[in-house]
Symmetry: D2
Subunit: 240 residues, 4 copies
């Protein structure tokens, strides 16, 4: 059974009554609860020691889910480096919504990961542009969210390895909302929706995409490549 760790900053939930009402057990709690029937799930949050991401936890994590917003700068550089190394070593990573601006995602992308945004209770329609991809298994042509925060292009990311979803927003913008990347032995999926004041993570299609993404992002078992000085595999002619 795949081991999933759901990491959440968990700050809005402590201070904002509106968010508490939508996510009484935290965003991590909501995400964990729909994953539990298929995966072995634990949660971790910013205010735990080592942000709940000890070396041991990471070694027992096949896929890490990341939600952060207010406190990206409070995540320690040491933990970011540790998690990044685990991704390069094969752990899957699913970055949700405002996690686009996390230190972790930025250091794996190499770009600013900046974007346009607006909180205006507007409609989002997430269109599937790659119907062959296992991440959209059992999804229809699009997912419609009555009210969401807008994220708009230009989204300053590297060109995705695979672009799976593109969002339409009522206010006139578009956004590359479902993007995959390979980094080292690890697979990364960025998925846009999930503002803290909306019940997005209770939407069955959103849940299904995240479940599919966990399956897709699971580690591939093969030996770590050997780096550094290498003996020749074939004879080399002696030259002056």
């Amino acid at each position: 059974m795949l081991q999933v760790t759901v990491w959440n900053e968990n700050r809005h939930e402590k201070t904002d009554a509106e968010v508490q009402e939508v996510y009484p057990h935290g965003i991590h709690g909501a995400i964990a609860s729909f994953l539990e029937d298929q995966f072995q799930v634990r949660t971790a949050t910013l205010d735990e020691p080592e942000h709940g991401l000890t070396q041991e936890v990471l070694e027992h994590t096949d896929v890490l889910i990341w939600w952060g917003h207010l406190a990206h700068h409070e995540v320690s550089d040491e933990i970011v480096a540790r998690v990044k190394q685990r991704v390069l070593d094969g752990m899957g990573l699913i970055v949700l919504h405002s996690g686009h601006f996390s230190k972790l995602f930025k250091t794996l992308m190499g770009t600013s990961c900046d974007l346009k945004w607006r909180e205006a209770n507007e409609k989002e329609r997430i269109w599937i542009v790659d119907p062959s991809h296992p991440i959209v298994e059992d999804i229809g042509e699009y997912i419609e969210l009555e009210k969401e925060e807008m994220y708009g292009e230009h989204f300053d990311i590297p060109a995705p390895d695979q672009l799976i979803m593109v969002s339409w927003f009522e206010g006139g913008e578009v956004f590359r909302s479902g993007c995959t990347y390979q980094r080292g032995k690890g697979k990364i999926f960025y998925f846009r929706p999930g503002h803290e004041t909306y019940p997005t993570y209770y939407h069955k299609d959103i849940q299904r995409v995240i479940k599919n993404a966990v399956q897709w992002a699971k580690p591939t078992a093969l030996p770590k490549p050997i780096y550094g000085n290498a003996q020749p595999l074939e004879a080399i002619k002696t030259k002056q």
Copy 2:
């Protein structure tokens, strides 16, 4: 259980004693035999009615494996069109070795699919360049084949969606040997090795790659996208 159809031209096996000795049950037989413990496998060959690829067979095929060489021109255009449509509708396709020049692969790629080749009993070393990909699960850093036919660049294919393996040849060439493509709802994997006079399909790593590729290429269950004239989903302002 995934349903796999192994299609083989099966001509070398009828006329060439050297090939008969290596593949007494045909290349299709050899491939089917290592897939049977994991998948529901059938075979089909060129000289069967409709090349063994009736509409019914295709409808019961999740992933089709294709080996052809001498008789690409004998495959009927009608069957090629039928198989292509099934790929666009979601059936996975694994094209092996000289299948690069099949009508089916060429029509799905849009290019000549031409390449350099040489039969000289030379060594091939297939290097993994994407260790995150499920198609190389349980493979090491490379697969070494003591004797194979050489295929060399330039290989006239579209840039692969994902490049997974690159071959080194003793005679001085390289080749993009493991390439994935998405076409419609279908996933395609091209895998280079497998000349008819060598026991390549008995090599456990080659077998493992093909098994992994079947898993990777399986159809994604979601409704076929709706094409054609579409009613608006949002109100459009009347304009002159």
Copy 3:
């Protein structure tokens, strides 16, 4: 000076008064006229002998622009094969709007190239998603077209090598509107806008994109790769 051939089906212009009013010299005439200050331009249309695309014309064409709609089926297979070969040999190709359904584009893509569409005088906003690309030189964040035909996802194309533009439509859809592909030695750019009843090709940003695309798609001068049987470049050890 780059040699550009603008090919147009030129049928709407002969029969439809509304189109005649918008494009009195044909869509080809409109496109040719804004290219003429930078390039050596000729036009060709469906009803000319060999559709105006003789071997000689193609040999003197660096970049071909293609607009068609009503009469894709009237384009002869022989001419399509000839033009495709020139693309593989290095000629650039810019496919506009309803050219998505031309035999030429479909045979180069390997997919159905189908999509959603609607004629409802609706607003299109074409967002730039790759601001590093020379095809969007001198364009702003988006191009706005007050009235256009809608094209919506899913657009059944292979994943573009580079996705440069994504459209937002008033009626609720999105579309991958600026896509590049490499086929053989040739470069291809698909650009969505340009319904025959709208003055889209008079819009300065649309003109600028097409000019930029001509520059981008120009042939790269290097020898045609050598295909077929090849002598080894290195000594091969004799094996049994």
Copy 4:
């Protein structure tokens, strides 16, 4: 005229007689000298104040070429951040050979950029796998270097946006030797050859590739995308 800055660590040249003999004016001097007929060229080296990469120099640099090896750790984080920002803002970047391990390249890639290597005076043959790309203009099917350092896969980089060249090495390895990336408004080209003890940068095809790459990597003129909070472009229906 494009403004090119050639940056070189310039340490081997100060201490190693063998390198001094091959590159008496430094690697930067050798590279600058073949670029000067086409571009406005300056050089900069590690031991200059701010490594020669002041804000002013960068603002007058369209394309930066980077060679480093021994002293990657001596490049200050502040200068790395400054150069990275210029790349995201549109400056082209060409990273040569051992520059794969520079802080700059690693921070733009998000991976370890590690690889196999060997100094054994062995033959390298760089095959062109994308003959449509302007970076290989006027190059043949391959570039042969009689003696070079070996770099072998796995090369821990993100999947290149475009893979243009793949190297064959006498000792049995392959390598993705010509790779492009887009980051922000900037274009990046990694080019493998150029060990300090070999006359690689005097080879006319290597020179031609670097010249072509400068042209390809030049900035695209368009306004910097606007990020942050954004007003709607369309009316949004009021919702509870």
